[in-house]
């Protein structure tokens, strides 16, 4: 399978994602410069973390005008997989590919630490190898992961199973004290209605090898691969 990893000016997690795709998954990975106009060759597009355009104005605000975003929107409308991690999630929100927006962490500080998240929907292309309610120990690293969406959209997200990950305790209880950034309903990751676009604040690529802090994130990538292969087989 071919993974396209989008590089905006200021993106800085592209090499980490590429390493996991190539070395752990054993798949092909290519960097896609933000000025490219087509993503047709790729089975899955990943928008990695970082600080696109320095995070100036609002995290992700300026990246949405890059030429590649049109191609990505097109790819997504056709059901193609798009995964946004951290800054990549913020870009997807700004671009309107996912509902809601990010505001600054309630601590007003950047937060880099392990968190626990619970898999709320294991039927997405990104979570299909996880068990229902599985708890993952996974790091975050962001200054604006405080997710907000209006009530109407929140209801839709909740009812449509679009909330894929929620911050929780090590044993899986979703409680405010385990929320590292103040996000609404402890939301850590959401999909669009169709489920082919996922945005998540935690970094699965940072916990995909034993030598790093565990392998809880690896199944995000393995799920993608599994899902793509299943779809090909059909």
């Amino acid at each position: 399978m071919k993974f396209g990893i989008v590089v905006f000016p200021g993106t800085n997690c592209e090499a980490d994602v590429r390493y996991v795709v190539e070395e752990i998954l054993g798949q092909e990975a290519y960097y896609l410069w933000h000025k490219e106009k087509s993503v047709k060759r790729y089975d899955c597009i990943i928008l990695p973390g970082g600080a696109s355009y320095g995070g100036y104005l609002r995290e992700g605000a300026m990246a949405k005008f890059s030429p590649i975003m049109e191609a990505i929107t097109d790819h997504a409308l056709k059901g193609g997989l798009v995964l946004g991690i951290s800054d990549g999630f913020q870009i997807l929100l700004e671009a309107g590919l996912l509902p809601g927006a990010m505001v600054k962490n309630d601590s007003l500080q950047f937060r880099c630490q392990d968190t626990y998240i619970r898999v709320e929907n294991e039927k997405t292309p990104y979570t299909c190898l996880y068990s229902p309610g599985e708890v993952l120990k996974i790091p975050i690293a962001h200054a604006a992961g405080n997710y907000y969406v209006d009530e109407k959209n929140l209801k839709e997200l909740e009812e449509g199973g679009q909330i894929v990950f929620r911050y929780c305790s090590p044993s899986g209880e979703v409680l405010p004290q385990y929320n590292p950034n103040g996000s609404l309903n402890n939301i850590a990751g959401i999909t669009n209605g169709e489920g082919n676009i996922l945005g998540m604040m935690p970094h699965p690529e940072r916990c995909s090898e034993e030598i790093m802090s565990g392998v809880a994130g690896r199944k995000v990538f393995e799920s993608i691969l599994y899902w793509l292969k299943e779809r090909c087989a059909l």
């Binding site: 000016p9 980490d16 600080a51 355009y53 880099c112 790091p139 690293a141 970094h203 690529e205 030598i211």
Partner: protein, 735 residues
């Protein structure tokens, strides 16, 4: 020229006379400014050069020693690491956020100049107390500045150290270290080789930033300087990130002859240094320099310290390619001149020659001074201080908790959780252990890195203190399973014009050199920051060491936390009746005095070798250095990190209880081994002739310490209680 002019620029009379002699005429205003900045202590090391010659700088792994933008050492597999530490003390005292942020930016560019990709940052911070709002403001500002710049850049901040002492209240220290990785073939140099090669200015535009910042860094701070806002330069980490990628791309493409960052002394520094290193000259036209502001004078252009700029000397004919790469990264790259063969740095403004100075004169010909030295009088008193006359506290639990919650010892989580310490996915041992460890992708190896310093020790005994700083850094790496390979240093001192301070300076360097020699860690780069004084006087003499070690096999990576129930706890080395200069005296008695613990470098080396061998043999499961707060604090930290208790039995011998528990005897490491490997451990220790004692066993939910001859437990605290004191302290003060 009027004497006020050159005096104002910080030049001395003999220096002005020498300038006239070199030029064979009076310098003009611009030329004088260029000399003043290049001959400042910050750029010329004129007061420190002779003492710095004492440092050992050679070793079989050293690829590039002092003199370049950073040092580089071989780490096997065709790879090398480049690293250096630099201070940004004076700017941080005035504007902590921007001062610290630009400090990060500057050291990253030094590493970039070597053709290396920055893979880790560390920093060493020294601030006054956190009990007042100014102290909090400065500290919070510096931490936020480092976080902002480093996080945006995507270089992980993986470690460092922080001390709080009123001594630094008027003049905090912010030292930043950067480590970069490169293939041997990609090593770049700051040299303008090849007559006729173009000289390009790349990156951000030039504005009126920090004119004469280097001279500013060489003057003492007064409380008025707090109002001198404009001298602190702002940085833009986003532009730095683009600059980093573009420079690495140009280097990889093979277009590069030389590369140099523009730091203190701006274009003047970069042009004269690159030309001088190559033994050549350079002609530049300042009309071609892209400016951010209108109406800038030649003086301002040549001395501006605007950040995120580099000077690139590409191969002739590759200018277009270089420009294309920078354009891709939305950056400007402009040819401003070319390399000449006459050794002269010629600055033109269109057709008009504005300055003509031999490049070497700026970089090499500054007079070198041997300042007067004198042993400070206070040492007689402090050395003979007898702590045994002090009352001994009844409750050692209380003392331990007080030590653990002192912000210098307490957990630094409040700080490092604001730094992205994981980006790059190499950080296998995160901040909070003795050393950070980064795996090297594509190999079985890893590197460990640490920063250490102890101003109080150096104040009370500069020579021993200097040696201890090096020894402790090495010990920290050894505890992570790494063999120390080289060091970089930042020497933070007061005014060298005061004989007592210069004496300390030289003694510290002697001590550091002896330890570096004995432990096989040559000094490959460094920085000197003098004139760290304020209304409140000089800071403690504070050398900071940044050290890197190599781990041949990632299976040998260790951290400080106790591992499994039943593991045996050994103390390598022996506790001596030493309590002078300790955190115990500082915290319990409010005293910063006494004889600094002795350091025997042979013993130190033996303990380190033993620990490495024990780790290599798979015997040692965890290792932790005994430093600030002594044995009890070290054991408590291992309990907290491992989230498991321990039962300890100590033999008092001729020691007093505070010496036994909290004395800071050097060359001690606490290690754990599997419960059935005790005999093996003992056999190994005999080989190295290191005194070793079995002091206890891992297990339970409390730390219990018994001492023979004393009934009951002298320490009995739950891990959660220890953790609460240790983890919460800084958070409580700051939030």
């Amino acid at each position: 020229m009027k004497s006020e002019t050159w005096k104002e620029m910080g030049l001395r009379e003999n220096e002005y006379e020498l300038i006239k002699e070199i030029l064979g005429r009076e310098p003009n205003y611009l030329e004088l400014g260029m000399f003043a900045v290049m001959w400042s202590e910050h750029c010329s090391y004129k007061n420190s050069k002779n003492a710095l010659k004492l440092f050992p700088t050679k070793g079989k792994r050293v690829i590039c020693g002092p003199g370049e933008n950073a040092g580089a050492v071989d780490i096997g597999n065709g790879k090398a690491v480049a690293f250096k530490v630099e201070s940004h003390n004076h700017p941080s005292a005035i504007d902590p956020f921007r001062g610290a942020a630009t400090g990060v930016g500057g050291i990253v560019r030094d590493i970039l100049c070597m053709g290396a990709r920055p893979i880790a940052m560390l920093n060493s911070l020294r601030f006054g107390s956190l009990d007042n709002s100014r102290g909090k403001y400065l500290f919070n500002g510096a931490v936020s500045g480092i976080a902002w710049y480093g996080n945006c850049l995507g270089v992980p901040t993986v470690g460092g150290e922080v001390y709080f002492n009123k001594n630094y209240e008027g003049n905090p220290l912010v030292n930043a270290m950067c480590i970069g990785i490169l293939n041997h073939d990609d090593l770049a140099r700051g040299r303008a080789e090849g007559v006729g090669n173009p000289v390009m200015l790349v990156g951000a535009r030039t504005g009126r930033d920090g004119i004469h910042g280097a001279t500013f860094a060489s003057e003492e701070l007064s409380s008025e300087s707090e109002g001198e806002g404009p001298t602190v330069v702002g940085g833009d980490p986003f532009v730095e990130k683009l600059l980093l990628e573009a420079c690495l791309e140009v280097n990889r493409a093979g277009y590069l002859v030389g590369m140099q960052d523009l730091g203190a002394a701006g274009i003047t520094g970069a042009t004269s240094e690159t030309a001088s290193r190559a033994g050549l000259g350079m002609e530049i036209d300042i009309k071609k320099v892209p400016l951010r502001e209108e109406g800038m004078t030649p003086y301002e252009i040549m001395l501006s310290e605007s950040q995120e700029r580099m000077l690139i000397i590409p191969k002739k004919g590759k200018e277009g390619e270089v420009e294309r790469i920078f354009k891709k990264w939305d950056l400007e790259a402009v040819v401003i001149g070319y390399v000449t063969d006459d050794g002269i740095l010629r600055v033109k403004n269109g057709d008009k020659v504005e300055a003509e100075i031999p490049a070497r004169a700026l970089t090499e010909m500054c007079p070198v001074y041997n300042p007067e030295k004198k042993e400070p009088a206070y040492l007689k008193e402090t050395r003979s201080f007898d702590w045994r006359k002090l009352p001994v506290p009844e409750n050692m639990n209380k003392v331990l908790l007080e030590l653990l919650s002192h912000p210098s010892i307490a957990s630094k989580e409040w700080i490092y959780r604001q730094y992205d310490h994981m980006v790059g996915t190499n950080t296998v041992v995160r901040p909070g252990s003795d050393a950070a460890v980064l795996r090297i992708k594509g190999t079985k190896t890893a590197i460990a890195a640490t920063m250490d310093g102890n101003g109080k020790y150096c104040y009370l005994d500069p020579r021993t203190g200097g040696a201890i700083v090096v020894a402790e850094a090495a010990r920290n790496l050894v505890c992570a399973g790494a063999r120390p390979i080289a060091l970089t240093d930042c020497l933070n001192f007061g005014s060298p014009e005061k004989p007592e301070i210069y004496w300390q300076f030289e003694q510290v360097i002697r001590g550091m050199s002896e330890a570096a020699e004995a432990l096989g860690t040559p000094v490959i780069s460094g920085n000197v920051s003098l004139y760290n004084e304020s209304d409140k006087g000089a800071i403690y003499p504070t050398p900071i060491v940044g050290m890197v070690g190599l781990i041949e096999d990632t299976n040998h990576i260790r951290s400080q936390g106790f591992q499994n129930d039943g593991d045996l706890i050994f103390l390598l080395g022996r506790t001596e009746p030493e309590l002078g200069a300790s955190m115990y005296l500082e915290v319990v008695h409010g005293l910063e005095t006494g004889k600094v613990p002795a350091l025997d470098l042979k013993k130190e080396k033996a303990v380190q070798e033993l620990c490495l061998e024990g780790i290599g043999a798979g015997l040692i499961k965890s290792a932790h250095d005994c430093s600030d707060g002594g044995l009890a604090v070290a054991i408590a930290e291992s309990c907290i990190s491992g989230n498991i208790g321990a039962e300890i039995n100590l033999v008092k011998g001729n020691l007093e209880l505070p010496e036994l528990l909290f004395g800071e005897t050097q060359s001690r490491i606490i290690v754990t081994v599997d419960r059935n490997k005790g005999e093996e451990m003992r056999a190994l220790t005999e080989k190295f002739g290191v005194p070793v004692s079995l002091i206890g066993q891992v297990g339970g939910e409390e730390l219990k310490i018994k001492v023979n001859g004393i009934s009951g437990e002298v320490i009995n605290l739950s891990i959660s209680k220890l953790e609460e004191a240790w983890r919460g302290a800084i958070k409580c003060m700051m939030d």
